[in-house]
């Protein structure tokens, strides 16, 4: 008799009700202005919806009224932590449409700059991802090395973030005389520094608890969700545009494509760390074999590609970034479509998060490595 009211009283005291939680758009762990709407059962995520578009600038619309050369700077501002990689995609697309042969030296320098950018982008990812999970130290270390790369960029291009290095047909300038020694100096210190990060994280118990088994994505599902980049490779799919459909000077270099086994956050971390090492190897090979010669092809003053269309994609730090250009024979594209890796990768956040805790959503946004400038365009 006494038990009965107590039990019912407990039920009314702890009635279960799903709660809707708004995360962002002004949340530090969302890496920009991403709003995530979570439906929670206790602390477990039941459903999730992403609200994107806060940074929408209409780059694809603007491109329709700009000439081909004028569009290039807009690409710097898509994925603003990997501006050089974006540029390589766009200029590559226009060059393919125009059927321009880019000089060998320019192609090699493009590879050097793009791989340095990959290292810088992955270092920024490492720092912020670790910071989100609670390891503040790594951020400070990672930014120290990223700063070196940005200084190399600044002395060559004049900009640190929106480094507008490439022109249609090659490079605007040849590199400055000390460029090679400075890059080599950086490559000398990098392996030791990577060791430092790995000492901090690889066997760190908190890091392992927060990443191992979190957001497991089987290979078939990752492919079906159009995931590309380290996210896909972490699930064990060996797809890298640099190897699968080589562009620029990549066929000349030896490098490995790291893949994961379990498809969880920890494997994706290992993949990116290995990619930093491989990128350093590519830069070294490119500097060793750097040919002499011009850095700019013969490009007409007014660029008017033939009537037609082209799709060109490269392996950006975030995944496969692509450009689809439709030309009507005028000096402005009839339509330009950007295939944004961050936007398309962000779709899989829902699939990864359901069943995990709220705190894991923070880790999963980090592991997808999104940049909102590219998501929203």
């Amino acid at each position: 008799m006494q038990e009965q009211p107590a039990a019912s009283g407990r039920e009314t005291l702890f009635d279960s009700e799903e709660m809707v939680l708004n995360m962002g758009p002004q949340h530090p762990s969302t890496h920009g202005v991403l709003r995530v709407i979570l439906r929670l059962d206790g602390e477990t995520v039941v459903d999730l919806d992403c609200d994107v578009g806060y940074l929408h600038r209409g780059v694809e619309k603007i491109a329709e009224s700009d000439t081909y050369a004028m569009i290039t700077p807009y690409w710097d501002r898509l994925d603003y932590v990997a501006a050089v990689s974006n540029d390589l995609c766009y200029v590559g697309g226009v060059e393919k449409l125009l059927q321009i042969e880019v000089p060998k030296r320019a192609e090699y320098l493009r590879v050097v700059l793009t791989e340095l950018q990959r290292i810088a982008s992955h270092l920024l990812w490492l720092g912020t991802h670790a910071l989100d999970i609670g390891a503040v130290t790594v951020l400070l270390y990672a930014f120290r090395e990223r700063e070196e790369i940005l200084k190399i960029f600044e002395d060559f291009i004049g900009a640190r973030l929106t480094a507008h290095a490439f022109r249609i047909g090659g490079l605007w300038w040849d590199v400055y005389p000390e460029f090679e020694t400075r890059v080599r100096d950086f490559l000398k210190i990098l392996p030791g520094r990577i060791e430092e990060y790995e000492t901090l994280l690889n066997a760190n118990r908190i890091w392992l608890q927060r990443t191992v088994g979190i957001g497991v994505l089987p290979a078939e599902e990752a492919i079906n969700l159009s995931l590309t980049g380290p996210g896909l490779r972490g699930s064990g799919v060996k797809y890298d545009v640099r190897k699968a459909q080589p562009y620029s000077a990549y066929p000349d270099f030896d490098f490995e494509i790291p893949i994961g086994e379990n498809g969880d956050t920890y494997d994706r971390y290992l993949c990116r760390m290995e990619e930093i090492k491989q990128a350093a190897l590519i830069v070294e090979q490119a500097l060793d074999g750097l040919p002499e010669g011009p850095v700019m092809a013969k490009v007409p003053k007014v660029i008017k590609p033939p009537v037609g269309e082209v799709y060109h994609s490269i392996e950006a730090p975030k995944g496969e970034i692509g450009v689809y250009l439709v030309s009507d024979g005028t000096s402005k594209p009839y339509r330009m479509r950007i295939r944004p890796p961050s936007y398309i990768n962000l779709q899989s956040l829902k699939r990864m998060s359901i069943g995990h805790l709220v705190a894991d959503v923070v880790a999963l946004i980090g592991t997808l490595d999104i940049v909102l400038g590219e998501v929203d365009r």
Partner: protein, 278 residues
């Protein structure tokens, strides 16, 4: 398989007819971009899309000075359309028919008249399919052992306002991991018509179709969650349509949603508030 790889343009064709005969060049290659059938005689440009090219230089700008978006802006708005430079001479032809490809041959055989075009532009293969066979073709491209297009790389649209009855091209970019090849599937639909959704086949197409709906106003039949994605839900018009002018800013929406309030700096008011609270 590697003939489809990025860096192998078809150069023989290109050098053959390099800008010698502008009419011929424009006729043949607009077929690839927007036309209906590539088997028609190449000298005669197809009706709709090359109308635009055949016009004298001045009239091209007229085409783009179009009306403001459907949700009529307030009267004091003067939309400024981006003007395009008129096309002068055409470059080389970069499109040719696909020959000697077993997969494409088999697809043509199976779908017959539904495949209206099978061409390669700069070595990149494009299939144009009629709407009624679109999903069926996609399904067979995904599940066929020789095709194995398990990944939908991208999905987008192009607006051709001059092509009456098929104003939109929906373009699907497929990639086969097993065969390392790419394929583009195009389907033309009319303005206001619904396009069948491929989200059942590729879950990744979800946000891509939502973006096409957001930017072009094309609805997808069978899409699980067709909402605007980049723009606000109540945004008027669809920006990537050609009639949507670039210089136009929708102040109405801004006035409604981003209101600012006059801040009263009269300190006595603040004091009163504090006094009340006390």
């Amino acid at each position: 398989m590697t003939d489809e790889i990025n860096d192998k343009p078809i150069t023989e064709k290109a050098e053959g007819s390099e800008g010698k005969d502008p009419d011929k060049a424009s006729g043949a290659s607009t077929t690839a971009v927007g036309g209906s059938s590539s088997d028609e005689s190449r000298g005669e440009p197809p009706a709709a899309s090359s109308d635009r090219d055949a016009k004298p230089a001045g009239s091209d700008t007229e085409r783009d000075k179009t009306a403001p978006p459907k949700a009529a802006p307030r009267a004091d708005h003067k939309p400024v359309a981006g003007e395009r430079t008129p096309p002068a001479k055409k470059g080389p032809v970069i499109t040719s028919d696909i020959s000697d490809d077993s997969l494409v041959d088999r697809i043509k055989e199976r779908f017959g008249d539904a495949i209206t075009e099978a061409v390669a532009t700069l070595g990149q293969q494009i299939l144009r399919v009629k709407k009624y066979s679109y999903v069926e073709l996609c399904r067979s491209l995904r599940d066929d052992e020789d095709a194995n297009f398990k990944m939908c790389t991208d999905l987008t649209a192009v607006h051709w306002p001059d092509r009456k009855g098929e104003e939109f091209d929906i373009i699907l970019f497929l990639y086969s991991l097993a065969r390392n090849r790419r394929m583009r599937v195009k389907v033309a639909i009319a303005d206001g018509e619904e396009c069948p959704s491929v989200t059942d086949l590729w879950a990744g197409a979800n946000w891509m179709e939502r973006e096409v709906f957001d930017m072009f106003g094309v609805r997808f039949e069978g899409h699980p969650d067709l909402r605007r994605i980049l723009l606000p839900i109540d945004w008027p018009g669809h920006p990537l349509r050609k009639e949507y002018p670039i210089g136009y800013q929708d102040n109405q929406w801004t006035d409604q949603h981003l209101q600012y309030r006059e801040i009263d700096y009269d300190t006595s008011l603040i004091d009163v508030k504090y006094a009340e609270r006390r």
